[in-house]
Every structure is written in structure tokens, then in C-alpha cells.
């Protein structure tokens, strides 16, 4: 579509205004989906983000040659990594093709410059940083429920980019990634909605082209085959997995949309038993809450919560309720200082609800409840897990600290 000169001028002025207002990440958003022009990029972390990542993008036409130019900071030459998984999304419309380039053998805690290329058409130059293997403080964002409220979703994405940019200032703890607790879109089988989400996700790319890696959990609205195609999971994958965010921080992602009491429970028990002795910080994310602030409890209350308590999981992040929630520590269905704290409930754009304050685990002042578009910032160091809830606009709504549970040999 050709734009009139006047419209072009107006758009240019808007872009310039956004740039000067510090919202320069908008420059990176909404790359044109036309021909083989690379667009809708996202960096995905699945297992070991110190040495691997998947860089994914879409094109409107199939194309032939899809690759990434990858250069470590300070290196003179770039390496070429071909996208090894290229196909059309399984939905009938719109016509859209995904490309996944699996980046492996990366160096930990290293800045990489990347440029996506599809049939000679290139993306802007972007950067990402791999996770550390040194025991240094790190931060991660947790958010969920970006399925509706598209304007707010875009504003939240721009804010995430700003938070990330600020975290790379001297004396700050860098934000490594976004753990998304699910409900990306309304109807998981609708590619047009995924396409919009992926375009909006470009807004999380910072002014300097910094990609925000994503660690996705499946929500109840994300059903269907497209989820695995968007995030480079194998076609039949059930989407429960664990990621090392550093040598002492492990994130367990669970899936409330597949069997909770079956193989996933077996896997969870084995995972927690193996991880708890090795990691100072062990936390989990999933979509539908065991201790909901609005909705009704799921069977994960019966099957997962006893595991969290047995293995002293430090923090559990939940989505789905569309409010802000932090419970007191819970063990054996009562408040217990040695228990597990449940936070989250989702505010990456979706219309907010009112929390049900009368529930026993939501009684103030031990609990903290609220409403408003938000993201959780979790910062892990050797002594504390620092938890903040940042509202749209930057105001901190909640601040809480958890201490290390167990003495760790690494200390």
C-alpha cells in the first residue's frame, strides 16, 4: 500500500515524537509483512540460554533462503546460521510462514549482534545477551494475559523495553528475559491474532535493538497447534520444561492445559527433586492458578502444590485472574512462614478484574492485591529474591523480599 506524502509526513513526525519521548522502541515495531521481508521476530529460550536460543521470524511468502547473521560483540566476523525449521503456519489464513534459526554453541553472558535475512531482505540489526554461567545477580520479568486490550498490550510492551533498557544501566541488575505466563491471544487457533501479537511483541525490542528473550507458558486461550509453531516447540510438545537463568536460578514452566496429574506430575517431581539441591533459587510459572485471586482453583492445587511445598519452591508465578496478587507463604493450606508464595495473575493488556479479598490466602496485610496493567520484576542475588510489581507508567505497586531458603554449597 502506498502512503500519501502528507500521511508519510505525519507518520514520520509521530515516530520522531515517540523517539524523543523515550519510546523509541516503536521504531522497531510492526515490520512490514510483505514478500519475504523478515518481520515479527522473537527470541525464545527453551533450555540452556547461556549457550543456545531460537531466533524466529515470519514472512508473508515462503521464500528460499532464510538465515541469521550472528556476531559476538568484539568479534570481527559474523557466522551464518540457517533457519532449520521453515514452514507455513497450519492455519488457512492469513498466509504466513515461520522460520526458526536455532542458535547453539553460544558463549555465556555475551552480547550478540544479529541480522535476519530472508531471500536477501534484511531486518534491522538487533542484539541479545546470553544468560550468565557466573553466579551474578540477574532479573527476569514475569507477566501474563496479553490476549485482549490491544492498545494496552502495546503500551505494556513498550514499557517492558524501557525496563530492560534501564536495567542495563551501570549498577543495575540486567533483565534477561520475559517469562510469559500464558493467554497470549484470545483464540489460539486464530493466526491473525497470533500475527498481531507477534507484531506487537516487536515493541519489546529496545531502542538499541535489544531483543527481550521470551520463555512462554501455554494458557487456556492458547490452545491449538499454532503455539508450538510460533515458539518453536516440537509439533506434539506438551510445553513443560525448565530453563537455567544462571548457575543458581532455575525456572520451571508448567502447562495447565494438558494433563496435570499424569506424566507432567511425574516430570515435575523428578525435576524438583533434581533441581532443589543444585539451585539457590527455584521458581515456577504456569497459567491457571492454584491459589486464584478471582477464579476457581484448578486441580494443580491437588497435584502440584504438594510438590512445591515438599521441595520448597521459592516462588510460583500464576496468570489468568487479571489482577495483581501476592499471597502470604502457604503450606498445608494455611499461612506458614516456611511456605510458598504465589504471585502474578496477569496484566499485560487484558481488562482488569477485582480480586476476591475474602479468601483466606488473600487477607491483608499478609497478602497484597490490586488491579492495573502490570509486570512483575524478579531480581535474584546471593541473599534475596527481590520482587516488584511495576504498573503501566512505571509506578511500583508492590515490593517484597524473600530470603534464601537453604544454605548452598556454591556460597
Amino acid at each position: 500500500m502506498r502512503l500519501s506524502p502528507l500521511l508519510n509526513l505525519v507518520l514520520s513526525l509521530i515516530t520522531l515524537t515517540c523517539w524523543s519521548a523515550g519510546l523509541s522502541s516503536t521504531v522497531w515495531a510492526d515490520a512490514e509483512l510483505e514478500g519475504t521481508n523478515p518481520a515479527q521476530w522473537r527470541l525464545i529460550w527453551h533450555d540452556d540460554p547461556a549457550t543456545s536460543a531460537t531466533l524466529s521470524w515470519n514472512t508473508a511468502e515462503a521464500g528460499k533462503v532464510h538465515r541469521v547473521q550472528l556476531r559476538a560483540e568484539g568479534a570481527e566476523e559474523a557466522t551464518i546460521v540457517d533457519a532449520t525449521r521453515n514452514d507455513r503456519y497450519s492455519a488457512q489464513s492469513p498466509q504466513l510462514y515461520y522460520h526458526h534459526a536455532r542458535l547453539t554453541d553460544l558463549t555465556p553472558a555475551t552480547k550478540y549482534h544479529v541480522e535476519i535475512e530472508s531471500d536477501g531482505r534484511s531486518s534491522p540489526l538487533m542484539v541479545f545477551v546470553t544468560a550468565p554461567v557466573e553466579d551474578v545477580p540477574i532479573s527476569i520479568l514475569f507477566g501474563a494475559d496479553s490476549r485482549s486490550g490491544l492498545k494496552e498490550r502495546r503500551e505494556m510492551n513498550a514499557m517492558l523495553a524501557q525496563l530492560v533498557a534501564e536495567s542495563y544501566q551501570p549498577d543495575k541488575v540486567p533483565i534477561l528475559a520475559l517469562a510469559h505466563g500464558g493467554d497470549f491471544i484470545v483464540r489460539g487457533s486464530r493466526l491473525d491474532q497470533w500475527s498481531q501479537w507477534m507484531s506487537d511483541h516487536e515493541l519489546t525490542v529496545g531502542a538499541n535493538g535489544r531483543l527481550l528473550p521470551i520463555i512462554p507458558a501455554r494458557g487456556n486461550h492458547d490452545k491449538g497447534k499454532l503455539f508450538n509453531q510460533v515458539f518453536d516447540f516440537p509439533a506434539k510438545d506438551k510445553n513443560y520444561y525448565a530453563v537455567d537463568l544462571g548457575p543458581q536460578v532455575r525456572l520451571v514452566t508448567l502447562n495447565t492445559e494438558t494433563s496435570i496429574a499424569g506424566k507432567q506430575l511425574d516430570w515435575l517431581k523428578a525435576e524438583l527433586a533434581a533441581s532443589r539441591p543444585k539451585y539457590r533459587w527455584l521458581f515456577a510459572q504456569y497459567h491457571r492458578p492454584a491459589f486464584p485471586a478471582v477464579k476457581n482453583p484448578q486441580t494443580n492445587l491437588i497435584y502440584w502444590v504438594p510438590q512445591f511445598e515438599e521441595y520448597d519452591v521459592d516462588l510460583v508465578c500464576e496468570g489468568d485472574g487479571h489482577v495483581i496478587k501476592r499471597t502470604p507463604p502457604i503450606r498445608d493450606n494455611r499461612i506458614d512462614p516456611t511456605g510458598v508464595v504465589y504471585v502474578g495473575e496477569g496484566g499485560l493488556g487484558v481488562k482488569q478484574r477485582t480480586p476476591k479479598e475474602g479468601r483466606w490466602y488473600l487477607q491483608q496485610p499478609q497478602a497484597k492485591l490490586g488491579r492495573g496493567h502490570h509486570v512483575q520484576v524478579l531480581t535474584f542475588d546471593r541473599e534475596k529474591l527481590n520482587y516488584r510489581v511495576v504498573l503501566m507508567g512505571g509506578k511500583v505497586f508492590d515490593h517484597h523480599e524473600l530470603s534464601v531458603r537453604l544454605p548452598n554449597d556454591a556460597d
Binding site: 485482549s148 486490550g149 483464540r187 490452545k223 491449538g224 494438558t258 499424569g262 506424566k263 486441580t299
Partner: protein, 305 residues
């Protein structure tokens, strides 16, 4: 007077009517608890969600107030159903159940499967099929037992009601069978939870999936059989299996959470039970008419066979 009309005071007829009345009343009781105590329903989310994603974009306070009102009115309707089933009571009950299914369709909340062969449009419409017995029960009762309508009922009216209930049960079982056959993860967990609670041993997921494939296939076959044959055993099985699957909610979630989910599914038991009682009545009439050739079923009754 037709033979069927002459038997509308028989025990089988009365039992059929009371099965339907009690099913609808229990369904209303479960809906009341769901709407007023648990609150989080597809109906509420439909009222709340923005219009661009299928909702009505009402404020939370308004949506909750409407749902609370509907919940209490449904309870009242359920109680009245036990004594005076009429259009003004059963019509709204059917409408509420229909609206729950419509809400699930609108907000895409009814089918959690990744089907290779069902289109998204088809799966989105699934709640209308899985809930069919729930809104057919009050409508069937309205035709069979209307308060202040002159008795006896015409054979045509009875035939319409029984056909409606028959097809509603068939569609409900067929849709649930498809979900089970496609290994709905919630159903997998029902099996695992049930084995743990009842037998004290945890069933493996592959075993639960095998059982689910088997029972899903059985549901589909039964659904086909109940509209193509007159085997009463099929209907007794449907009533029994409807009870088992409804009670699985209590077994899985416990009584406090599960009882309303179980009661909402009372028509899954009541509808097939009512139909099988009707078949027994027709069989009994036929046997009587064979013994006394002067009395024979009229055309409408025969067509129902």
C-alpha cells in the same frame, strides 16, 4: 382417547415425569451454586469480555449483579419446577442453559483439544453440542408435563418431546465421546484422580488415555445406537454412564467444589432415564395390547417406536 393418553397416570409415566422434574431442579441447584458462590462462569466472562473478542464488555459490577440475579432466579425456577412446571419457569431455565453454551462458544471456552481434523469453527461450536441435554431437559419437560395444559397430552406432543430428548442425549454423548476419544486432558485427570481416591493407587497417564479412548468410542457408538435402535440397554447404559461422569467431578475435585458441577450434569442421567422409562411404558402398552387386541397404539406412538 389414545392408549398412551390412557396411560398418563401409570407409574412409568409418573416416574418419567418426576425423573425429568428432579433432573431440572438439580440442574438449577447446581447452576445457582455456580453462578452465585463460585461466580466464575463462561456466562460472566462473556458479559465482561470486550466486544472485539466476542464479549459484551459490561462492567464487572453489572455483570456480577446480573449473574447473581440469574443464579437466584434459576434456583427459584428449579424449586417451582418440582410443583408447577410451566412455560414461565422452564422456558427461562432452558434459556439460561442455552446462554451458558452460547457464552462458551462466543468466548471460545468449550473445547481444549488440539484436533487434527476438526476445524476451529467446529470446535468453537462444541459447547452447544455438549450442553444439549441440559437445555433439552426443561424443554422436554415443558412438552410432557405442562402445568395448566389440558390432559391427556396428544401423541404428537409426546412424540416431539421424546424425539427431542432422544436426539439431545445422542448429541451430548456423541460430543463428549469425541472429546474423550481425542483425550481431553481434563478427562485424563478425572481417571487418574478417581483411581487415586477410590482405589488408593495412581493410574498412569497411558492407562488413563487408553480407558478414555475406549470410553470415548463407547460414547460415540451409544450415541449412534440410541437414535438408530430401540435397545433399552443402550439407554440404561447412558443413564448409568451419565451418572458416573457427573460424579467424577466430586471424585476429582472433592465435594465442596465438585457438587455443583455434578448437579449441573443431572440431565445427563435424567434425560436417558426418562427416555428408557418411556420405552418401558411403550413396551408395556404393546404387551397389554397384544393381550387385549381391542386396544392398540395410535399412529403417533407407533412412529415413536
Amino acid at each position: 382417547m389414545t392408549v398412551l393418553a390412557a396411560n398418563q397416570n401409570s407409574r412409568l409415566w409418573i416416574a418419567m415425569i418426576w425423573v425429568l422434574r428432579i433432573s431440572v431442579a438439580l440442574e438449577c441447584l447446581g447452576t445457582w451454586d455456580w453462578f452465585t458462590r463460585w461466580e466464575e462462569t463462561p456466562f460472566l466472562h462473556w458479559l465482561l469480555d470486550p466486544t472485539d473478542i466476542g464479549g459484551l464488555n459490561w462492567s464487572e459490577a453489572t455483570a456480577l449483579a446480573v449473574q447473581q440475579t440469574v443464579g437466584w432466579l434459576t434456583l427459584l425456577a428449579g424449586l417451582i419446577t418440582l410443583v408447577r412446571p410451566c412455560v414461565g419457569v422452564l422456558g427461562p431455565v432452558a434459556l439460561v442453559q442455552l446462554l451458558i453454551a452460547v457464552a462458551m462458544w462466543r468466548i471460545d471456552d468449550g473445547f481444549s483439544l488440539e484436533s487434527e481434523w476438526l476445524t476451529p469453527q467446529t470446535t468453537a461450536l462444541f459447547p452447544l453440542a455438549t450442553h444439549m441435554a441440559r437445555f433439552a431437559a426443561p424443554l422436554g419437560l415443558l412438552l410432557l408435563d405442562p402445568w395448566r395444559v389440558e390432559r391427556p397430552l396428544t401423541g404428537r406432543r409426546v412424540a416431539l418431546a421424546i424425539s427431542g430428548l432422544r436426539w439431545a442425549a445422542a448429541i451430548t454423548f456423541f460430543a463428549h465421546g469425541i472429546e474423550a476419544w481425542q483425550l481431553n486432558p481434563e478427562f485424563v485427570d478425572y481417571w487418574i484422580g478417581a483411581s487415586e481416591r477410590i482405589f488408593g493407587t495412581r493410574m498412569s497417564q497411558p492407562t488413563a488415555e487408553w480407558l478414555l479412548t475406549f470410553t470415548g468410542g463407547a460414547d460415540i457408538l451409544v450415541a449412534i445406537a440410541c437414535v438408530s435402535t430401540r435397545w433399552r440397554a443402550v439407554w440404561w447404559w447412558m443413564a448409568f454412564w451419565g451418572a458416573v461422569t457427573a460424579l467424577s467431578r466430586i471424585v476429582s475435585f472433592g465435594l465442596d467444589i465438585g457438587w455443583s458441577a455434578t448437579l449441573i450434569r443431572a440431565p445427563h442421567v435424567g434425560v436417558p432415564l426418562a427416555v428408557v422409562l418411556y420405552w418401558h411404558l411403550v413396551g408395556w402398552i404393546r404387551a397389554e395390547s397384544t393381550a387385549e387386541p381391542a386396544i392398540a397404539p395410535d399412529k403417533d406412538e407407533e412412529s415413536e417406536d
